[in-house]
Assembly symmetry: C2
Homo-oligomer: 266 residues x 2
């Protein structure tokens, strides 16, 4: 029996849909999703903390500690000045607790938060801690998935940076078929566009700027180091996507040598 | 005993600090904090939902419902196709559940999420629900505080818009001493700046654009209606800040008449 036109149309459409779903539900697509969510959460943490500090510090200006988490924990337990004790503060933030407590005794902020207001602030602090928690979970998911899906790339660079590269490229397949110059500039699309359109300086790196070896190199050498990384990442990506062999130990050795040589130059 | 120079310096500094703390821990300052937090949370909800939908819809493209909350609830209970039943979906989203269930049966997305991935997505969905919850709490805090602190303004306009005006003005005192033209443009600072610097069209309203009466007026009348509101808001603000008398019922009557007259004009 011959297939009718309508039947063929349906069959082809069906196959295309399946292909699409297949492509999008592969594990590298999950990594892109997770890294995007991770970065969003990171931003939110900053925003919530800003609000939190601005609000709470009116009542407790003397609490200044580096950690967002510790700050949020303090808010969860201290709403009124009378809630604070040296013991509690030491439990929450360790040795610094004593200092903070002393500073609070001579504080010029005497008015206490009203109960209703404190509840609202506490909600925000809880949110901050929740975000911390989700971030940690996404992070461990990312670490597992990246190391499983891209063992070679993950051996060369931090798994978070690897995930970002993947997210920018769209898929492992695409990352693996990109020229290294493109990989070097992934994440620098805006700067590249500006360069092309307005003739500003061309960018030297995008996501790869976050690499320790790049950030910590002398200014004039960063571009070349990013380039060296991009080259090896491309080879690693091909191994991860196609041959599935582990070759990253050798790549890493070569890469370290190249970077060392660049850093030694005068 | 005469006060030494050092002592006087200390005493004056102390008093200044007290004044500052007093000013910042007043209840209108809490309202500014709360409305800022509220708006931040609102934005976050949108961002988390975007991520969530992008991720989850790969596996369940047939679930398309208007409510972010319902969508998140579905995610909390359905990770695999086999988790979904007509009963469950109807419990979660009512009558639509049947339709969604049917659509899922003929879906082209056959692959299930892996357990680890589902956990990560579920976390995000939980976050969305949490944000909903915090938003509701901040909202009810705002409603109470605004109605208590600014009963006159809150009688004329929505308490959220009142809170935004207050946030932009900095304090009730400042809002109460602003000319009505300034109140009309609160929240339109960017457009105003553009107008002054580049000669673009001057803005006609800022935050007040959110008023139902402004949004729903004919284009050519919005500016004048915003102006009418601003005038009455200023009078109401003065009553809230200084005389503490309730005069908003009369103001509202006049305002309604003015707006009606503007709307009737041809």
């Amino acid at each position: 029996m011959k297939e009718s036109r309508e039947q063929r149309r349906k069959r082809i459409l069906e196959r295309a849909k399946e292909g699409l779903t297949e492509a999008y539900s592969s594990s590298d697509h999950s990594i892109s999703q997770a890294i995007n969510a991770y970065k969003e959460i990171e931003k939110m943490k900053g925003l919530v903390f800003e609000r939190l500090e601005e609000w709470y510090s009116i009542y407790f200006p003397e609490i200044r500690i580096g950690s967002h988490e510790a700050y949020s924990r303090i808010i969860m337990s201290i709403g009124k000045r009378s809630d604070a004790s040296e013991q509690l503060l030491t439990d929450l933030i360790g040795d610094k607790g004593k200092k903070v407590y002393e500073a609070m005794q001579s504080s010029y902020a005497k008015r206490d938060m009203e109960e209703k207001e404190y509840k609202a602030v506490k909600e925000l602090a809880g949110m901050e801690l929740q975000l911390d928690d989700i971030e940690a979970k996404l992070d461990s998911y990312l670490e597992n998935e990246v190391k499983r899906t891209m063992p070679n790339i993950a051996y060369l660079i931090d798994y978070r940076i690897a995930a970002e590269l993947l997210g920018k490229a769209g898929s492992l397949q695409r990352l693996a078929t990109m020229p290294s110059g493109t990989v070097q500039l992934l994440g620098a699309e805006k700067a590249l566009f500006k360069h092309i359109k307005f003739g500003s300086k061309p960018p030297k790196y995008g996501v790869l700027f976050k690499l320790y070896a790049v950030t910590n190199a002398a200014r004039g050498k960063r571009g070349r180091i990013a380039r060296a990384y991009a080259t090896k990442i491309c080879i690693a990506a091909r191994a991860d996507a196609f041959s599935k062999r582990f070759i990253a130990d050798k790549l890493k050795e070569q890469l370290d040598k190249t970077v060392e040589a660049i850093n030694k130059e005068k």
